[in-house]
Symmetry: C2
Subunit: 262 residues, 2 copies
């Protein structure tokens, strides 16, 4: 049983990790999922201690992946160490887009598969679940050639033990095959992220809505996750130029208030 | 055997249909695919005569669909009449997004199915192929709840005679299941549209690239289409604030020059 609510730190990206930890405790948010930049800025050991002292559950570390970039394997191994150090439930994988100048999507997907095979032994040894996160197809060129839940589960089938999927409703809500794939994910959901699809959406990356601001039937997708054994509540991950411009305290209050929309 | 190259009129949307017809003839572009607004502005009968006199093949009429809007069925019936009048190979269907205020995606999809069943008798009687065009998942909320080629083919399976698919590389290039679905589309491809995915893309609708400007391996997808029996060449459909701001003559020259990227 995971925490009912977790804060992905990018949601309030003007805050340091220390401030996020303190804010979670103060607002009664029992879970946290840091990004690596704020984790490294605080220092991994200090962060691990503060998070433990605050009694927060670490629902994930964002993020490994980006296998299209040079040095990706070594960087993913460091991410696995960091995830282990802070006791994260999983390392969320944003697998990377096309290499610069390439139009070869099948090759990019093969490269992701190879990269995952390369890092999996370290992940298993560290007890860190590799959570494959399919990203919305509009990010295929520059962020993730892993685009659907079905594709992620195919990879899990191949990779086996120590892998799972991170389901973000923003990335999967449109999928006509969603119900079937969510059932197929039984026992393999390693993270459940929420935000909302605003209509219209004005930016391909930084215009996500808080739960209830958009058109996603979040409770319906959450019910699918729970039918597949997920008990970890929701992690709120909002990349939004609009919300980033607001007072973080107000954003945290909104997140608490909008929990009813999840 | 269709024309090797066809101009979708929205690519040069500052031109009237009469100007588009004249430009196709002058630039040696043997096919045309008008949008309904420019067709209606010219008058359907006058347009039909001018297109015939210019010796152009009509590769499609854009567009029917939008079943989420009031009056959609009657409007689609008018579109079928127009497609018949200009001898269009097909009526391209952009099926519509969620109804205003709705989060019920399954219901919106059922409504699309019902709408297609309603208009199919008229389409068959008129000899107009209904070309279901899956649109990129980023348009699911506001333009098309039909998001994948597999989903479109499932509908074709159900609807039967008189239906097919319009494949636009922009909408399908990211799909991990593309090769399988393109093979499944054998004999059912009713249109093949090209443009390119720019990386980064700055607008969800109006930032498409000309062939070669982006990351899509267009020849690879075209080869899949031809392996499935498609002989109709490529229809160039570019929705782009950038290209719309250029001299249409320059855009037409670019289209001719970039045909090698298809």
């Amino acid at each position: 049983m995971g925490p009912e609510l977790s804060l992905n730190t990018i949601t309030v990206k003007s805050l340091t990790l220390a401030q996020c930890i303190e804010a979670c405790a103060r607002h009664g948010i029992p879970g946290i999922s840091p990004w690596r930049d704020v984790l490294q800025a605080m220092g991994v050991d200090a962060a691990a201690k503060h998070i433990r002292d605050a009694g927060l559950k670490v629902t994930g570390l964002c993020r490994g992946g980006m296998f299209n970039l040079p040095g990706a394997i070594d960087d993913n191994r460091r991410a696995i160490e960091e995830a282990h150090a802070i006791g994260a439930d999983c390392l969320v994988m944003v697998c990377g887009g096309l290499p610069a100048g390439s139009k070869d999507l099948p090759a990019a997907r093969d490269n992701v598969r190879d990269g995952l095979h390369a890092i999996l032994p370290e992940a298993r040894a560290a007890g860190v679940t590799i959570a494959l996160e399919p990203l919305h197809p509009m990010t295929c060129a520059d962020r993730s050639v892993l685009s659907t839940l079905g594709q992620a589960l195919d990879l899990c089938d191949e990779l086996g033990e120590g892998t799972g999927v991170a389901v973000d409703v923003y990335h999967v809500w449109w999928d006509p095959d969603l119900a079937r794939q969510m059932a197929r994910a039984k026992g393999r959901i390693a993270g459940f992220h929420v935000c909302d699809w605003k209509s219209p959406t004005t930016d391909l990356v930084f215009d996500r809505g808080l739960p209830g601001e958009g058109v996603i039937d979040i409770p319906a997708i959450r019910a699918m996750a729970e039918a597949s054994g997920w008990t970890g509540g929701v992690e709120v991950e909002i990349l939004s130029n609009h919300w980033w411009a607001q007072d973080p305290e107000a954003v945290l209050r909104e997140i608490k208030a909008r929990h009813a929309f999840c």
